[in-house]
């Protein structure tokens, strides 16, 4: 698990020992792999390789699949604001150039996979965070979802127990259903650990996806929460998150930030590191790897699969050891309770 978490941040310079002497793109396994295993297409979302988060995590899973199953892969990347048809073309191109399985990284591929999949019945598709947009089920598409609320619950417990002030904060990138899952789980976890805790909630944008790429907005929102007495702030705001970390640094010692998706302690700057309490891990790498594995075994995944705590599909990081050690016992107790079903985590705030 630790090695996977490390690989999950392939773009980070100091995590791969080499001190960042090689650009992330040049050691791309998809360019060098020549095994005779399955040929898998990876269609990235906006951001692509090197986002130190979602897309890199998918790549890390693929990297492992390449070494384990002699798989080969082809990559494509979405550009900001591109048309739906561009996504479809990308998927078609991959299918026509011989990919036997294609992974769309990100919910934005749901529609295009739905349109393309029926034309290529021999090819297996997977959409991470995806959903079937219509009523006709596709029998060659797997929707790989995550129980983000469960992971968020755990970091909510961590936040509440770490907090001295009795107030904690949440910064969401965009106020949509997906991010509300994070908020709901986080609040529930905090209240479970400390029933009288106060949770300040801010979203950077209501529907405009630019909320995921606005560090200045993330910093302003988080600073507002620190000013109101919060001493731990959790973000689910993608690229805006680095602004949230900056806000914690500015708020000074005794204030904390919690990362999201990948273990952000590993990719944060030296200045930010001491302030990152933990990160809610979303194991896109596990999902991608398992999908590749199912292809290799000839029993491709179809329909909905939810990666939750039980399968280690979500979790929390303990990379910042000195900050989190005191809390892990308590967090792991809640984790066990969620896995056993004793606690059901809400998905709506």
């Amino acid at each position: 698990m630790a090695t996977l978490a490390l690989a999950g941040c392939g773009g980070g310079s100091d995590s791969e020992g080499g001190g960042g002497d090689k650009p992330a793109a040049s050691d791309d396994v998809c360019k060098t792999a020549d095994g005779d295993g399955p040929k898998i297409g990876l269609a990235y979302d906006v951001g692509g390789r090197g986002d130190q988060s979602f897309n890199d995590s998918a790549y890390a899973g693929m990297e492992k699949a390449v070494s384990d199953f002699d798989a080969t892969c082809i990559e494509g990347e979405a550009t900001d604001g591109e048309a739906e048809s561009a996504r479809e073309d990308r998927l078609r191109n991959m299918a026509e150039s011989g990919a036997t399985a294609i992974v769309g990284v990100g919910f934005a591929y749901s529609e295009s996979v739905n349109a393309v999949a029926p034309d290529f019945p021999e090819v297996n598709f997977a959409v991470i965070d995806g959903f079937d947009p219509d009523d006709t089920a596709n029998d060659n598409v797997a929707y790989l979802g995550f129980a983000e609320e469960q992971g968020s619950f755990l970091v909510g417990v961590a936040a509440a127990e770490k907090s001295q002030s009795g107030t904690i904060g949440f910064v969401g990138g965009v106020n949509n259903e997906l991010i509300q899952k994070f908020e709901a789980g986080y609040t529930a976890g905090a209240k479970a650990a400390k029933p009288d805790i106060k949770v300040e909630v801010q979203y950077i944008q209501e529907s405009d996806l630019s909320g995921f790429g606005d560090p200045a907005g993330g910093k302003a929102a988080a600073t507002g929460e620190f000013d109101k007495g919060a001493d731990v702030v959790y973000h689910a705001a993608g690229g805006s998150g680095s602004g949230v970390f900056d806000a914690a640094v500015e708020a000074g010692e005794g204030n904390w930030a919690i990362g999201v998706d990948s273990d952000q302690y590993l990719t944060a700057t030296a200045e930010q590191k001491p302030f990152i309490l933990t990160s809610m891990l979303k194991r896109v790498d596990t999902a991608t790897y398992n999908f590749a594995k199912s292809i290799d075994e000839g029993k491709p995944l179809v329909s909905y699969t939810v990666y939750d705590l039980k399968q280690d599909g979500v979790g929390y990081s303990s990379a910042n050891e000195s900050a989190i050690t005191d809390l892990t016992t308590s967090i792991d107790e809640y984790k066990a309770k969620i896995i056993s079903g004793e606690i059901t985590v809400p998905t709506k705030p």
Partner: protein
């Protein structure tokens, strides 16, 4: 009889002098804000934290708006501000990484200037439509920054193909005694006094030197454009380039200078985003602030004071809604009072229809405030846009752009 007209005339000048004086308007404004703060019990409305966030949110928009002012005063519409700003974020990151923050700011200005140069070559030398060139600059700016980041930043410490974090920020200034005193007064929550103290506190505690520089650039721009012969010539190129040409002014040169300065200012705005508003470059971090700067400049009536008011209103309301969604509700009362006051002013000026329309809007907003407890979330994100539009649209009734703004000019066309 003549005596009475003289007195009414004198009365009128006194009233006008009172109301047009910025100082008094500012004081009355703070009084109203303070009143609203106490009535609605929203201390965040003028908290030092809010003011500080507002200053940070204002600066990049202000720099872009200033850039727009320079270009448009010389007759070149520069909607490439956004692209030049994006180039500035990259330049700031690259140069700060190697040579520290001050060279970084110069680098931001340099990259923005290159964007401005492209625009100047296209519009001034080749007479390309200003909008077409501007759109192209925006696309090129975004593409070039993405490409350059991907090519260069992954090798850097703290860098990746889409970001470069952990950059050193320009120095911050704190004036110890004043800062503490202001802090203690601000915490009392007194009427008006504490609000002013909050502003003083924000201005004297950890304020970035780059913020101060950008505000200083507004004054410098105003002085250069309106108080020097260079500025007069530059503006004449935006009003009537043919006439300027007959007076021996090298219109192309002035337009070039204006657009280059414009790009550099937008670049500095981008640099602010990468160095002060956050601590690093990240792809797409400008998020349309260049366009907002352009809009603030237009609604600010192509004047330094107007664009400053626009950028401040936008920055203030944007940080307010980002920090506390609830405080947006208190803002409604503020807007209602503002509208009613403006209606009264128009009534005094005997503009009956105008007064009625504004008063109607004021009553509606007031009713909205009184009948609800909070503003729907969907609306809060629009707050900065709506408020800025309101304030500036009401504030400047007669927008007058430079007469030859955006019009093609060829040398020798004066005949």
């Amino acid at each position: 009889m003549s005596a009475t007209t003289a007195t009414t005339g004198r009365k009128r000048t006194i009233v006008e002098r009172l109301t047009t004086s910025w100082l008094y308007i500012g004081l009355i404004g703070i009084g109203v804000v303070s009143f609203v703060r106490i009535i609605t019990d929203t201390d965040d409305l003028t908290g030092a934290g809010t003011i500080r966030a507002a200053i940070i949110a204002t600066c990049p928009i202000l720099a872009a708006a200033l850039g727009g002012l320079w270009a448009e005063r010389a007759g070149v519409v520069n909607i490439g501000l956004e692209g030049q700003m994006i180039l500035g974020t990259w330049g700031a990151a690259f140069f700060t990484y190697h040579y520290g923050p001050w060279v970084g700011i110069l680098g931001a200005a340099l990259l923005g200037l290159i964007g401005g140069l492209l625009h100047a070559v296209a519009t001034v030398t080749f007479g390309v439509d200003h909008i077409v060139s501007g759109v192209a600059i925006n696309l090129i700016g975004a593409g070039a920054a993405t490409y350059l980041a991907e090519a260069i930043f992954p090798d850097y410490e703290g860098g990746g193909p889409r970001q470069l974090n952990g950059l050193e920020a320009p120095a911050q200034i704190t004036i110890p005694g004043v800062s503490d005193l202001a802090n203690s007064i601000a915490d009392r929550h007194w009427f008006v006094v504490s609000d002013i103290a909050s502003v003083v506190q924000a201005l004297t505690t950890n304020i970035s030197t780059l913020s101060l520089l950008i505000f200083a650039l507004v004054i410098v721009s105003a002085l250069v454009l309106w108080r020097t012969s260079f500025g007069l010539r530059l503006r004449s190129c935006g009003e009537n380039p043919q006439a300027a040409e007959t007076l021996g002014i090298n219109v192309y040169l002035y337009k070039y200078v204006a657009v280059l300065v414009s790009g550099a200012l937008a670049g500095i705005g981008g640099g602010f985003l990468a160095l002060v508003a956050s601590s690093g470059f990240s792809n797409g971090q400008t998020g349309g602030r260049g366009y907002i700067g352009l809009a603030a400049m237009i609604f600010g009536n192509w004047r330094p004071g107007g664009l400053l008011a626009g950028a401040l209103t936008f920055g203030y309301t944007d940080s307010l809604r980002l920090r506390d969604t609830q405080s947006v509700h208190s803002l409604l009362l503020l807007v209602a009072i503002g509208l009613l006051a403006f209606a009264a002013w128009r009534a005094y000026k005997r503009q009956v229809t105008g007064a009625l329309v504004v008063a109607g809007a004021g009553v509606l907003v007031m009713a909205w405030f009184l009948l609800t407890d909070s503003v729907p979330r969907e609306f809060t994100v629009m707050t900065p846009y709506v408020t800025t539009m309101f304030v500036l649209a009401l504030g400047s009734q007669r927008l007058r752009m430079p007469a030859a703004d955006g019009k093609p000019y060829r040398r020798g066309s004066a005949g």
